[in-house]
Symmetry: C2
Subunit: 376 residues, 2 copies
């Protein structure tokens, strides 16, 4: 396999694009959904299953992995791919987002962030350079710059300060990353809900000529229309020949609408987390298996699905497993949900390739709106 990282757009349909990101460990068909493998495992799934569903790439969380098992340890064990048995591409986040959301006693300044582990209380310091070093130790194929993500709503001055610093951190990360032919370091557009700040951020990052661009700081509390407006402002500024990644998003509806605005990559804990809480995503919208109406329903979640979890197990059984808090409930619903997300991405890619993305989006949304099939 050649030692290059490249993005090829095969077809566009409006602002939506479909193509492939190629790198030594494999090819990622876009638009892509990346299942989240927080601590080196896509929770309650065998990675063979994740692969079989059509995932070309998974995400690892730098914050979790640096604390346990530890970046240097992962490197000694041959890197994350070997450790977890996923030979395909892995994207790692910078760790910054979860330092903010999970750790205790943070102190953030221009140099970086000092924080206390939520696992054992140990103190750690993360700079842009250390984030890139850690992601390198993990062996990540697509690495993310360290940034500061501000929760919305926030004061404009605060959003601007964090955005400006994130641009400076992007430059430091680019330098730290250096020249790694088969790998990529993506910058992250910040700027909250302020269109002009988003544009300023995107332009500054574009000037750095990075291999890909993420849009961060969205889906952090703002309404969906604000998120979509920010994408409409940001995507046209980003270079069209580079992949665009919307971080931490989202619902199937968020995804399809973001693809329509030019996004190529997504990650979200929603399908896995919801699966562990009794919630199923299907062609007909969301289904809460905890609901008593499923208690004696022998039909599967979706008899037309190719996924055994969706097609072969009765709702009655899933209901029982969820109510009894049995591991198999989370295993089956996570499997169903990741299958649905990958099916959705496959449909999106095919529709764009065939120039009927708008129709596909309308049909898909109609089917969600019809709601779950009525109980028998």
């Amino acid at each position: 396999m050649s030692d290059v990282f490249r993005f090829d757009i095969a077809a566009t349909d409006g602002a939506a694009r479909t193509g492939a990101i190629s790198m030594p460990r494999g090819t990622v068909r876009t638009p892509a959904f990346m299942p989240v493998g927080t601590a080196g495992t896509v929770k309650a799934m065998y990675l063979d299953q994740v692969r079989d569903l059509g995932a070309d790439i998974i995400l690892g969380n730098t914050y979790h992995l640096m604390l346990r098992p530890g970046a240097e340890r992962v490197a000694r064990l041959g890197g994350l791919h070997d450790l977890i048995r996923w030979p395909h591409p892995i994207l790692t986040d910078s760790g910054g987002f979860q330092v903010m959301s999970l750790s205790g006693l943070r102190k953030l300044d221009e140099q970086g962030v000092t924080f206390q582990s939520h696992v054992d209380g140990s103190r750690h310091h993360m700079s842009p350079e250390r984030s890139i070093e850690i992601q390198g130790l993990l062996g990540s194929d697509i690495q993310m710059q360290l940034d500061e993500c501000v929760a919305l709503p926030a004061k404009r001055s605060e959003v601007e300060r964090a955005m400006d610093m994130s641009v400076r951190w992007a430059e430091r990360c680019k330098t730290a990353f250096g020249d790694q032919p088969g790998k990529a370091m993506f910058g992250i557009v910040q700027g909250g809900d302020q269109p002009d700040l988003r544009v300023k951020s995107a332009e500054a990052l574009k000037a750095l000529d990075l291999k890909g661009y993420a849009v961060g700081g969205l889906a952090v509390g703002e309404p969906q229309d604000v998120m979509l407006a920010m994408l409409e402002t940001t995507c046209p500024v980003l270079p069209s020949e580079k992949p665009r990644y919307l971080m931490g998003v989202g619902t199937p509806d968020d995804i399809i609408k973001s693809v329509a605005r030019g996004i190529d990559m997504f990650d979200c804990v929603m399908p896995t987390r919801a699966g562990r809480h009794g919630l199923a995503f299907t062609r007909r919208g969301r289904i809460n298996l905890r609901n008593a109406r499923h208690a004696e329903d022998t039909r599967p979640l979706d008899e037309e699905s190719a996924c055994p979890a969706s097609r072969d197990y009765s709702r009655a059984y899933l209901h029982h497993l969820v109510r009894a808090n049995e591991a198999l409930g989370g295993m089956l619903l996570t499997w169903n949900n990741l299958a649905y997300y990958q099916d959705l991405m496959r449909g999106i890619r095919q529709a764009i390739a065939e120039g009927r993305f708008a129709d596909f989006m309308a049909e898909t949304q109609d089917e969600w709106a019809r709601g779950d099939i009525a109980p028998r």
Copy 2:
């Protein structure tokens, strides 16, 4: 498939026997280990995996299933086999043991036992007749009589009272069960650690001409040699042409020594429960994956195993998953443990068939005694 329940002994070696229990839903190769599917799921496993490991039969817990999802509901859903997607034989216990160990506010007399659900506090009454009715509603292939199991040590008078009543309950269960050609109802020998009471119980049950006999009330706190002594006392009294089932046992060492004394069937939560707590059973004994010595060990649990969980994942990864309390840790270790138990049973059956069971037992015990392979 013919509508009969039969037991054929293919070979004996000392007191050990190997053969097959045939019934309409399938054939159980003996000696057999039955994975425990407490609440309609072998915890953290897909039943396809359980089957692929070589399990011919699983156990369902009547107590758990009668409370949730409920026996009548399971029947309306087509029975337990359909609900959980296990078309092969299922044995159910009577529910009595767990009424004693899990439920609140028990009142036990000759008629049966009144108890409060540990799930929702609801009141239930279970008589010998109701236990058989419930097991019939579940669709169980091998049903167990309701008995009273006394924890050891216990006063002889108490052991004798419970044993005598259990014999009377066996008779009531036999009547309630009636004539069901492809199914069986087993009696349960009680009598604690009192050889003469064990003999009295076995003789009384033998007189009832049941299709199989369990030995109950062992592995409830007594030393292993007491358990084995009770088997030596009991098994010769039981009819040799009927299957013998040692309930709730045990460690690999318990199993191999009990086979040597004439036992054909086992069930135990040990491989599944231990797997969820970081403990692996292997050819070289038990391995606690929580131990720091595994943190950077890239070797698998057992490179010679045919089970992916045992052969393909590093101890370092398993250690990480266990420490991080990730679902996949329990999934992989349960898989490994059930694989080891089924491999052990396969080895036992083959050794008996080839007339070298004593050698097999000695070699197996030697290998356990050598202990885990040393860290690199």
